[in-house]
Symmetry: C2
Subunit: 301 residues, 2 copies
């Protein structure tokens, strides 16, 4: 049980964490800060936070748990703004989708408080950002990756694990480097490709006619293209090297497929498609929340 959560950033991720913590009876009081006064007000009206703090620093004052839920590019400035009032036993976490940059920011900005910081990435979200969509159930059944540093206090790491587990998440640990390489592959590059696919259509005069004909396959393939532009700008830039490296792998695979189409070599093409199809069919799906099927095989065309 925490006395006070200091919540910096009251959007979807931070707001959902506060609601989930309250519902689980794990916190007495949530003091929130957002650089947007209207967001802060709506967060209080929705019961996401109990008290509006006039600054990030004051949200942290007296908190034994701090969640930094700001765009990753704002992490370092936030750490600098709050470090003077972080208590000696306060657990500090973030929710950023990239970890190498967050860890580097923490090393530069948190100084003495580095052992209390446990970098966290909950694999959850919605395309619909904002405190209006904050949801106490957002983290239930999801994975949370913690990327502790050599300096991280083992007791704080255990506490971080316990908090996320209490919210219904499954916790994994890995290094920030391994995290960023893996998520470049299975999340950041897919987003980049989905953005490119939408832009490629938009660039054509027939875009509206084409889109009117699209079916469920297109719907699912492009769903992540609707994600928040500023959040994804930050993620792609923060993990730029890994994402560009993964894009090279992707281009090589696309080149191979197109070469067999150009020859054309039906058996070679079928072999490459089968490789993809079998790999995808074998994939058990995202370790699924209870009650939700691991994967749904539906309308393909």
């Amino acid at each position: 049980m925490f006395e006070q959560l200091g919540l910096i950033g009251c959007g979807l991720m931070g707001g959902s964490f506060a609601l989930a913590l309250k519902r689980a009876g794990l916190v007495k009081r949530v003091v929130g800060y957002s650089k947007s006064p209207s967001t802060l007000q709506r967060a209080r009206e929705r019961g996401v936070i109990d008290v509006e703090a006039p600054s990030a620093l004051l949200a942290v004052s007296g908190a034994d748990l701090v969640l930094v839920a700001v765009p990753v590019a704002a992490t370092e400035d936030t750490f600098k703004a709050i470090r003077h009032l972080i208590g000696p036993h306060t657990l500090v976490m973030d929710v950023g989708s990239t970890k190498g940059d967050v860890v580097a920011a923490a090393r530069r900005a948190l100084k003495d408080h580095l052992p209390g910081f446990v970098p966290a990435h909950p694999i959850a979200g919605k395309e619909t950002a904002g405190v209006e969509h904050a949801d106490a159930a957002l983290y239930r059944g999801c994975q949370v990756v913690l990327t502790p540093l050599p300096e991280t206090d083992p007791a704080q790491l255990r506490q971080a694990t316990a908090v996320w587990t209490a919210l219904g998440a499954r916790v994994r640990e890995m290094s920030p480097q391994d995290h960023d390489a893996a998520y470049a592959t299975v999340s950041h590059l897919p987003h980049l490709l989905a953005f490119a696919a939408m832009n490629a259509i938009q660039a054509q005069p027939e875009a509206a006619r084409f889109l009117a004909l699209a079916g469920p396959g297109f719907r699912d393939f492009t769903r992540i293209a609707a994600s928040d532009p500023s959040v994804w700008r930050d993620i792609l830039l923060a993990n730029q090297a890994e994402v560009l490296a993964q894009s090279q792998h992707f281009r090589a695979a696309l080149d191979a497929l197109e070469a067999t189409m150009r020859e054309p070599d039906p058996l070679a093409l079928q072999r490459l498609i089968r490789q993809a199809s079998e790999a995808r069919s074998r994939w058990p799906g995202p370790a699924a929340p209870a009650g939700r099927p691991a994967d749904t095989a539906q309308d393909a065309t």
Copy 2:
């Protein structure tokens, strides 16, 4: 009401059509043929067909409605095999995902029977192929694109429209060329990209570790990669020129995004992502079946 459906190909698409037609009370008898004896037997056991025909030709004998539901590459041979017993008033349709090649095959093979042929592409399917997954509701709420030729008998076109409408589908007409350009964009290229994305991961030694970390965004982005390899080999080859042209549009859009990541130019990157995000958010979704939401905005990461 049709006396007899001659069904050539008893897989998911053909089997679902037969079941839907029966459920709607629109056919007295279904005579089926499959080049696979075990498929044919299972189709009869499941009640998809009433009579097993020993050849495609004999399935057509006496039929006033013929559905050719074979891989698109097998269409021309099928037309040649059945043309001698197509009746003068028989409506012939296919269900191929490409239309330029099917129409060319029909022109070469159907000869006098060309006016009775109405090329059809129901925008429906599942990753799970086979008569086991045939479903009387597969076409309910889906779009069906008809691509009539100048030679097509208007009465047969009206009848084709009436049949699909009776099965709950919404019918659209367009030229085979327009069809193939549009579906290269919103279906065939997305499949090619999803195949490439899976193969790019599989080519890396860390593939298994990466895949274990993937979440719901990856699940939806790659869903279509699980599609049937031989069906998609045929589609990609049949519509090769349009797909490769669309791939060039896609590569240009990807190049533009990566250029802004490399500079790096946060505002230019955000602008390109916003363009994609707004276009996808504006898209109303596949004209949705009753009772199914037009689009679902869920876990994005």
